[in-house]
């Protein structure tokens, strides 16, 4: 089909409701960088994008901003950029103290203080590195178009709810809300329950003060052989078998 015949289907294509053969033809024109269809579809995408701005206006809850900023590490995340700098500064101070330190107790105290600061910064940096790695694992699972998604929760009044994403190569991602922090001395434990088998421990996690939680079990997972993913409350050290009924379970 030529471009003139496809022109009236650009908006349908941008909306995702074009049908074959037109949809296939437009896709082919775009793939070969057609000088007419590429800008035509782009304009159509702009038009359909604007439809999104026509949704009824609402003010999102204030907590949502905190949740979104947590994606990027929020306030703490700013240390991801700066902590290496401060660590380097502290290390420089330490070296300077060694080189230029000349006298006794006072210098020794400063040295100890600088070392403590360095240790603290290194600990913070390590925590942030672990958090970043966890988020990257979550991203990897979330970005798989073939990942299986299971929704749980939704009953009255406000039980935990959310979604579980399972990717056979990358693992299991749990996103939950309405999940209050576990009681003191307790922790949440995720379980992957095989079909006809005993629950397998899938990691410990704690929810945040606003009741949201993100937990990742990295590594391959047998989708066909999995019956459900569940969460229980366990002692802080975790358990090898669930000791209480699940707080929630997502059946595949």
């Amino acid at each position: 089909m030529n471009c003139d015949e496809l022109r009236d289907d650009y908006e349908l294509y941008a909306l995702g409701i074009a049908e074959d053969p037109e949809a296939g033809e437009i896709r082919a024109h775009l793939e070969r960088n057609c000088p007419i269809c590429v800008p035509g579809v782009r304009t159509a995408r702009q038009l359909t994008s604007l439809l999104g701005a026509s949704a009824p206006e609402v003010v999102p809850p204030a907590r949502l901003r905190k949740r979104v900023l947590a994606v990027a590490g929020g306030q703490k995340a700013s240390l991801w950029n700066w902590s290496p700098v401060w660590a380097a500064v502290a290390a420089g101070a330490l070296i300077a103290a060694v080189i230029f330190n000349v006298r006794g107790q006072r210098a020794s105290a400063e040295l100890q203080q600088a070392a403590a600061q360095l240790q603290q910064l290194q600990a913070e940096s390590a925590n942030q590195t672990r958090e970043l790695a966890r988020l990257n694992e979550a991203f990897a699972i979330l970005n798989q178009p073939d990942a299986k998604q299971v929704v749980f929760g939704g009953a009255a009044p406000q039980p935990p709810r959310g979604r579980v994403f399972l990717d056979p190569k990358r693992g299991v991602l749990l996103l939950a809300s309405n999940l209050p922090p576990a009681p003191a001395g307790k922790i949440y434990e995720m379980w992957v329950i095989p079909k006809g088998g005993a629950p397998v421990p899938a990691g410990l996690f704690q929810s945040s003060a606003d009741g949201t939680a993100l937990h990742v079990l990295p590594g391959p997972v047998n989708l066909a052989g999995t019956a459900a993913v569940a969460v229980t409350v366990e002692v802080a050290a975790g358990a090898t078998v669930p000791n209480l009924p699940p707080v929630f379970a997502a059946a595949l």
Binding site: I17, Q46, P56, F139, L142
Partner: protein
């Protein structure tokens, strides 16, 4: 004959409502730091850029997702997922050429429709949704697409559509229904629905003229 849908979404059409809260948002979009600078800072993993991205588009994204899923809690989860995905994929976005707002809304819409399909047991990613939010698709788009004048013109154009034309556009955009699914939902012949869709889109195109041409 005018189709008389039972669902309140048609009677209380999103497109019929007068914006009350949009002005501050649009002013923020129009007069804030430009999107290209914001994208570059996101690509440098500056968490403060994420805060600015949310302040600029968060309300728009939340409104869109809430319109689709109609549940505040679920909408919050999906907004978080939307920004998570953008944060993760922003390296593939062309700061100089890309339309950030359009990309963000495409990601938001896809997350929300994906959820609807998943919750309804419909096959995930059944239509063309998966590829419609790839960052490369937003190259050479108008960078500040959501300025107040343009949004106002689109709203006006939508208000001029007939009830049935608006209904099919809403079902396509906010619910991700195919034309066959719309026909089933509206209990109308497929040919009739296709005519409504085409005439609605043509009217929008004619009304808006060059408003959406970068």
């Amino acid at each position: 004959m005018i189709f008389a849908p039972q669902s309140c979404i048609f009677r209380n059409s999103a497109f019929n409502r007068i914006p009350k809260l949009m002005l501050p948002l649009l002013l923020a979009i129009e007069f804030g730091e430009n999107d290209a600078d914001l994208v570059r800072r996101l690509q440098r993993r500056d968490p403060r850029a994420m805060a600015e991205l949310y302040d600029r588009y968060g309300r728009l994204v939340y409104a869109l997702i809430l319109r689709v899923v109609r549940d505040g809690g679920i909408a919050e989860d999906l907004v978080q997922e939307t920004f998570l995905r953008v944060w993760n994929r922003v390296q593939g976005f062309d700061a100089e050429r890309g339309g950030l707002g359009a990309w963000l809304l495409a990601v938001a819409r896809n997350r929300a429709i994906d959820y609807l399909r998943s919750a309804a047991g419909r096959m995930r990613n059944a239509v063309e949704v998966p590829e419609t939010d790839h960052p490369a698709l937003f190259a050479d788009m108008e960078k500040e697409l959501f300025n107040s004048d343009r949004v106002r013109r689109v709203r006006t154009a939508l208000e001029k559509l007939s009830a049935n034309q608006r209904a099919v556009i809403e079902l396509a955009y906010f619910e991700g229904l195919s034309q066959a699914e719309m026909a089933e939902r509206m209990k109308q012949p497929l040919g009739t629905v296709k005519t409504w869709v085409r005439t609605a889109l043509k009217s929008l195109r004619d009304e808006l003229g060059t408003a959406v041409i970068a």
